[in-house]
């Protein structure tokens, strides 16, 4: 199986006055295609920083990060943006849908940055919304949708560019437990379909769905466990 993510001695340091804060302190992680990974850890452990680096929102202070075959290092803002558009599908805790835009327009948005013609954008966005079961809500504005529906739109938006990885930041943090189950079921299905999924979370029940759990403490990986097939949770 080919590697999607290779993190090699990744560090991220922040200068705070005289002190250097080591948000990440030598991370070595490889993630293969079609893995289903949870990154967990207490707050301040560096999981958000790690997610930002994986998601090409940030670059490491030192170390090498290969996303697919591309070395994400000292890229310019523009190159990082292009990389995000091409390789990463973001799913945020608070959905981050565009206000005053319909579900369809939201899902079409990432394709704008690929300079795809309008009709083609619409076609691909429709397919993606169909995949998350919202084909009857495409013209609803985000404030006309429930929390679960909003997150489905966000997932459709992440899927529409066919990225190498789906990157979720506490994707169910704002949802009730019933909706959480629905959304996690959707992630499970997407994984079955071959997507590579990385979820940053502090909820154990989310981590339970994943097949591999990476635990961070103080910017270091303290545990990296792959579940055997029989240990995996099936909903």
């Amino acid at each position: 199986m080919s590697k999607v993510i290779q993190l090699n001695e990744i560090t991220k340091h922040y200068q705070m006055g005289d002190q250097t804060f080591k948000a990440l302190d030598g991370i070595n992680v490889d993630i293969d295609e079609n893995e289903y990974v949870a990154i967990i850890g207490p707050s301040g452990s560096g999981k958000s920083t790690l997610m930002n680096i994986i998601g090409c929102l940030d670059t490491p202070t030192s170390g090498e990060y290969h996303l697919k075959d591309k070395l994400v290092e000292k890229m310019s803002e523009t190159e990082l943006a292009q990389q995000r558009n091409k390789s990463v599908g973001f799913i945020f805790q608070s959905f981050n849908l565009l206000p005053r835009a319909s579900a369809l327009e939201n899902v079409m948005q990432p394709l704008v940055y690929r300079f795809i013609p309008q009709s083609e954008r619409q076609k691909q966005a429709l397919e993606s919304l169909k995949r998350v079961g919202l084909e009857d809500k495409i013209h609803h504005l985000s404030n006309q949708l429930s929390g679960g529906q909003r997150q489905r739109v966000a997932i459709a938006r992440a899927l529409v560019t066919k990225p190498h990885i789906l990157l979720g930041d506490e994707p169910t943090g704002n949802l009730d437990s019933k909706t959480t189950q629905d959304i996690m079921k959707l992630f499970d299905e997407l994984h079955e379909e071959g997507h590579t999924i990385i979820l940053v979370t502090h909820e154990q029940e989310i981590a339970d769905h994943c097949h591999r759990v990476i635990r961070l403490v103080d910017g270091k990986v303290v545990a990296d466990t792959r579940k055997k097939t029989e240990e995996r949770l099936h909903v």
């Binding site: 930002n52 998601g55 929102l57 940030d58 803002e77 523009t78 943006a81 292009q82 995000r84 558009n85 091409k86 973001f90 945020f92 981050n96 565009l98 206000p99 005053r100 948005q109 990432p110 704008v112 940055y113 690929r114 300079f115 938006r157 560019t161």
Partner: protein, 411 residues
């Protein structure tokens, strides 16, 4: 190219959405630009109307008539130098120059400045001394009675031809021929009523009394009157040769030593037209420039609201960046939004300016139709776009430079 087009379309969409969502705020933001464009357009339109009217009136002026007027350069005027053409200059030229078909003169005298009296009515009219050739030169005809005759001039008769306004103001009978009015302390016999003319730029053109120039010259006392000589050449006569002849005679009569400038000048309708054109163009330019300053104030309003807009939409910008929007794309989008906002103001301003100029043309009688030239429309759109770009630049750069991580976290 194609990529920029998509960014521009996205910018226009976002801008229209933002304008719709904050209609009131957008309208207030645009107020500066609306007022600026409306004033520029109104000023230009009204000035165009004036110019058009002046040109129409000037084209009525006989193109073949040349005037000779006293002339002293401004710097010489300031040291008290004066010049004038005398009644004798006029008579001399009239007899001497053979190439001339008709020559007449207009004289204004301070002794006649007190106006005219009829019964108990006193009215200040423009009293002009001229001769019978005035009628030949301008081919004008009396409404009633007769025009000044050669014999009136020869015999220095106290006769007067009056305009419509004078009849009205002095409460003269409808047909005043035969009545007497008092001018400069003397009684004048009304012999006719002159042709009624349209008012020019709101100025009454019928408030005149024509009397024989010889009569005026006699009553002027000391040759203080201001004389303008007008003539038309005979067919086939050489304009330049005649001008040279007149110049030579006048310089001799005025005892101007060689090397000194003429103390008179020639003027034709064509020259007058050129001068008015220069004048109206510069007035238009200056006023448009002054009101254009309000456009800059408007631009600052746009910049202000765009900065607010960028702050408000920090999270959205963060999201767009996470979805793959490059800094260049974000910058272009916000620039387009600022331009759309300015253009929106520009269009409203254009409409208001159009309405205002229509209103002004209704209020000023006889003002030719005001009209907004295409260049003014294009210029105001060009200028408002430029304002949008210039004042949208700072907010757009701010948006483009936002750190996506901080922007996503922004509450």
């Amino acid at each position: 190219m194609f990529k920029s087009a998509i960014a521009i379309i996205e910018g226009v969409k976002a801008a229209l959405q933002a304008i719709r969502a904050n209609a009131m705020r957008s309208a207030l933001t645009c107020l500066g630009i609306i007022i600026g464009v409306a004033s520029v357009v109104t000023v230009v339109a009204v000035m165009q109307g004036f110019t058009k009217q002046i040109n129409e009136q000037l084209s009525d002026l006989s193109p073949d008539v040349t005037s000779i007027k006293p002339y002293v350069a401004l710097e010489d005027q300031m040291v008290g130098k004066q010049s004038k053409l005398s009644y004798d200059d006029f008579l001399y030229l009239k007899n001497k120059i053979k190439q001339i078909d008709v020559m007449t003169a207009n004289m204004l005298s301070f002794n006649f400045a007190n106006g005219a009296q009829y019964q108990n009515y006193i009215h200040s009219a423009q009293v002009i001394g001229t001769d019978s050739d005035y009628q030949k030169l301008y081919k004008t005809f009396p409404e009633k009675g007769r025009y000044l005759r050669e014999s009136d001039d020869e015999k220095r008769r106290r006769v007067a031809l009056v305009g419509e306004t004078v009849i009205e103001k002095l409460h003269l009978p409808e047909n005043p021929v035969g009545e007497y009015i008092k001018l400069a302390g003397k009684w004048f016999h009304i012999i006719g009523v002159g042709e009624t003319q349209d008012s020019f730029l709101g100025f009454d053109q019928n408030n005149y009394i024509y009397i024989p120039i010889s009569t005026m010259s006699t009553l002027d006392g000391g040759d203080r009157g201001i004389i303008t000589i007008r003539y038309r050449l005979k067919v086939g006569a050489d304009e330049e040769i005649v001008k040279r002849q007149i110049t030579k005679i006048l310089r001799q009569r005025h005892k101007i030593s060689s090397g000194q400038p003429d103390d008179f000048q020639f003027e034709t309708a064509k020259k007058a037209k050129e001068r008015t054109k220069e004048l109206t163009t510069s007035i238009t330019g200056v006023t448009a420039g002054i009101v254009g300053i309000s456009l800059i104030v408007g631009g600052i309003g746009v910049m202000n609201i765009m900065l607010v807009s960028v702050s408000e939409r920090t999270r959205v910008i963060g999201t767009l960046k996470a979805l793959g929007a490059t800094p260049g794309f974000i910058m272009l989008q916000f620039l387009v939004e600022a331009v759309v906002l300015s253009l929106f103001g520009g269009m409203i301003g254009l409409a208001i300016g159009y309405g205002l100029s229509e209103l002004i043309s209704l209020m000023i009688p006889n003002l030719s139709d005001t009209h907004i030239p295409t260049w003014a429309v294009l210029l105001s759109f060009g200028f408002t776009s430029a304002i949008g770009i210039i004042f949208g630049l700072a907010p757009a750069i701010k948006a483009a430079r936002l750190n996506p991580i901080d922007a996503l976290r922004y509450e």
